[in-house]
Symmetry: C2
Subunit: 150 residues, 2 copies
Amino acid sequence: MTQPGLPPLQHIQSLPSWLVGRVAAKGRGLVAEALAEEGLKLMQHAVLAATAEYGPVAQAELGRRLEVDPKDMVMLLNHLQGMGLVTRSPDPSDRRKNAVTVTAEGLEVLARCAVLAERANEELLGVLGEEEKAQLMRLLGRVYGPGAAG
Amino acid sequence: MTQPGLPPLQHIQSLPSWLVGRVAAKGRGLVAEALAEEGLKLMQHAVLAATAEYGPVAQAELGRRLEVDPKDMVMLLNHLQGMGLVTRSPDPSDRRKNAVTVTAEGLEVLARCAVLAERANEELLGVLGEEEKAQLMRLLGRVYGPGAAG
DNA sequence: GGAATTCGTTGGGCTGCCCAACGATATGCG
DNA sequence: CGCATATCGTTGGGCAGCCCAACGAATTCC
């Protein structure tokens, strides 16, 4: 699929891994820029969303869901807690665990972030028609799917 | 395109930016693993390829081509030079510049890396047929294209 | 009841990306 | 020619993402 006759750098830049990396970087940038409006980083947003989705949940559980290192989870939650978006309270049934819960403000921020992230994605795929977007998602899903259970 | 009724985390994970990010991470991993066989990191490989492609070239020029920070370029070239894959010699016509040149060994490594990177990409897109790969590349190219001149 | 495991936390590290400053050198313009 | 301006390589920060190791406290397994 990639011509072997290309000069070295052009060859690398013609590889799917390179192109998908560039697109991912662009997407990251757009979403990050959008979420900055609410003062959230990408991962903080994901953690906040996971907390909202899985109700009161232990840190380690969040880390497993999002594939985030425990060390980093501490910092992420410290920040979210500092912003008043989540709370950490000891789990009475297992005193090792911190039950992480979304606050009312956290839910509000999350709702606004959903709109922002959606808008950023429309900007990312703006040049594609609806049918093409669906096609792209289908192909990417196939590529990613076999690799890991999401 | 993305249903607004989804729970928070599932909503995020249904966004194109998230999916393309996951695929990119998978691609990075596969290529990085492949290049490790030659002792090269992703960026080192790119710098080596750019050096080979643009002959004797100044560091700043390499940095511009690959959008790499000058500080990081120093470290990258230090490593490549330490491995004996490139050389730095003062440019007689402009004594500020370091003329970076690939060595014979650098070219050999580069040739082997091309095969490795190609193989990693075949593994990445293995589940897709040739026509689907081309389709994916076309779509990604359209998405990335308008954002930056490669 | 004692061993093994999990939890949260703290401690490292490496890479990628961004910005600021510096001496040395080159270039532009008067 | 002389001086301001810019570029080059280098060094110095910082921050986020990703990975691994260790620790006390608490829990579970047998």
